[in-house]
Amino acid sequence: MTKIAIKAEKISKAYFTDKIGTGTVTRDFERWLAGIRGKADPYLPAEPNSENNFNASQKVFWALKDISFEINQAEVVGLVGHNGAGKSTLLKILSRITTPTSGKITGTGHIISLLETGSGFHPELTGRENIHLNGAMLGMRKSEIKREIDAILFFAEVEKYIDVPVKRYSSGMYTRLAFSIASHLYSDVLIIDEVLAVGDHAFQLKCIKKLKSLSRDEGKTIILVSHNSENIKSLCHKEIKLTNGQLSCQ
């Protein structure tokens, strides 16, 4: 029986493009008063009223609207859509970098994500130090990181540079290391946003092979964004397509 790994129900995300957000003391005071009196929040983002999701009167932009989907365990899901469709926003919500404005996502297991460029490496620290720091940020213990460090370096092919500060790495090496860390440390769900694009062709193939094996052999659920339709086709069991922040039917 397939188990559901992630279930999203009516996820919406509004961005306040207003320079100060809701960040004025008086506005917040009004919200607080309304809350105490049991009234509705006077500054709750209004529904989008124009075609491009933009509510001009409140300077609110809806990056995602009523997104619902289910992802099964060990499934590889491709998230596709045009630039600005809301893919990264959705992944950021799943990774807890930000929260949805409304809606709910439930799921099980530990999530590791690799969002757009880099993954929070510290430029002055060496490759080894960064593996430790990055692993620790992903919630790993020292023993786990030590056990995997050789495999991480071998996969990323940066063994020679292990004691060099990562600011001396090329951007490809940087990405390789980031991918290698994320894919070797323990997780149930792996989220990857357009990272494959940076590596060279050989490394891309290697990543695809690795991702396939992670899902098939280790039962990891994988969600990835890629603008390369071949990658998506060869890897993914399922596609989620976003258009202007909404799900489009396949």
């Binding site: 961005y15 960040g23 439930t106 620290l125 213990r141």
Partner: protein
């Protein structure tokens, strides 16, 4: 490899207090260790002055204070040898001010990191408070050396039970710096212009703390004002624990502890609320 719990989780818009899990922090022990370690070694990797600065800064300040407040304006010092009086005030104040300064800008300083990786954000202020404790203990050694050297200069240092108060006030001081710091971090994440105000207020607040004067020198009708500052009882008790003189009272200390706990709770709630969405607007 399945040592991490395959727990179920929920992501929602509502900022409920129930999904506020302090226990989760413990899963990130190694991260705290790494961050504290990095912070401490960064001190040594800097210039030669790096580690020495830890000692020079309080010594220079003590010198200036002794000159100005001791020689020129003659503010009393509770019968404590002046340089030691100022030094003890300075190192406790330094901890507090530095902790506040650094934790209050946590969101701004770590923005790039917070956009990439999720971990409980509270870990950053906690590691700042811990690594500053390391500095504090170095400066504490400086104070002890000073006490040892100036043994005869009217300090008449003896071992007293009061030194047993030291761990308690250190803990209180750390919680206070952390609590107010994260409260300010939450506020400045939202209202950015508060940052300037905050840096300025910290400077001013020093004058409302008995760093350059003892509480006993404050007119009785103004004491409540100085005592409203929770750092007051800490600085006074700190001196009392070493020198046995000064105005120590359990009531003041308990008042300060109660304020600290209240501030810490307020800070935790505000920080928890701020960490959810600050990345959208920063």
């Amino acid at each position: 490899m399945k040592n991490n719990n395959s727990q179920s989780w929920t992501i929602q818009s509502t900022r409920s207090v129930t999904d506020f899990k302090l226990k989760q922090i413990l899963n990130y022990r190694y991260l705290i260790y790494c961050l504290v370690h990095r912070d401490i070694t960064a001190l040594y990797k800097q210039t030669i002055l790096g580690p020495l600065w830890l000692l020079i800064q309080p010594l220079l300040t003590t010198g200036v204070f002794t000159l100005i407040f001791g020689t020129l304006s003659k503010i009393p010092a509770d019968g404590i040898f002046r340089p030691l009086f100022y030094l003890s005030g300075i190192i406790t104040w330094n901890y507090f001010a530095e902790c506040l300064n650094r934790t209050s800008t946590v969101f701004k300083d770590n923005r790039v990191l917070f956009e990439k990786v999720y971990f409980p954000r509270l870990i950053i202020p906690i590691s700042i408070a811990l690594s500053l404790l390391f500095r504090f203990s170095i400066q504490l050694l400086l104070l002890c050396t000073g006490i040892f050297i100036f043994h005869e200069h009217g300090t008449d240092f003896q071992y007293r039970w009061t030194i047993a108060l030291l761990p308690l006030i250190t803990l209180l001081m750390a919680f206070q710096g952390l609590g107010i710091g994260i409260l300010m971090a939450a506020l400045t994440a939202k209202y950015r212009d508060l940052t300037f105000l905050l840096a300025f207020s910290i400077q001013l607040l020093m004058y409302a703390t008995p760093v350059i004067y003892p509480l006993s020198a404050v007119p009785v009708n103004l004491r409540w004002l100085i005592l409203a500052n929770p750092m007051t009882a800490i600085v006074e008790t700190f001196r009392f624990s070493f020198f046995g003189s000064g105005s120590f009272s359990w009531i003041n200390l308990l008042g300060s502890a109660a304020t600290t706990i209240a501030l810490l709770f307020a800070g935790l709630l505000a920080f928890h609320k701020a960490e959810k969405n600050f990345i959208d607007t920063l």
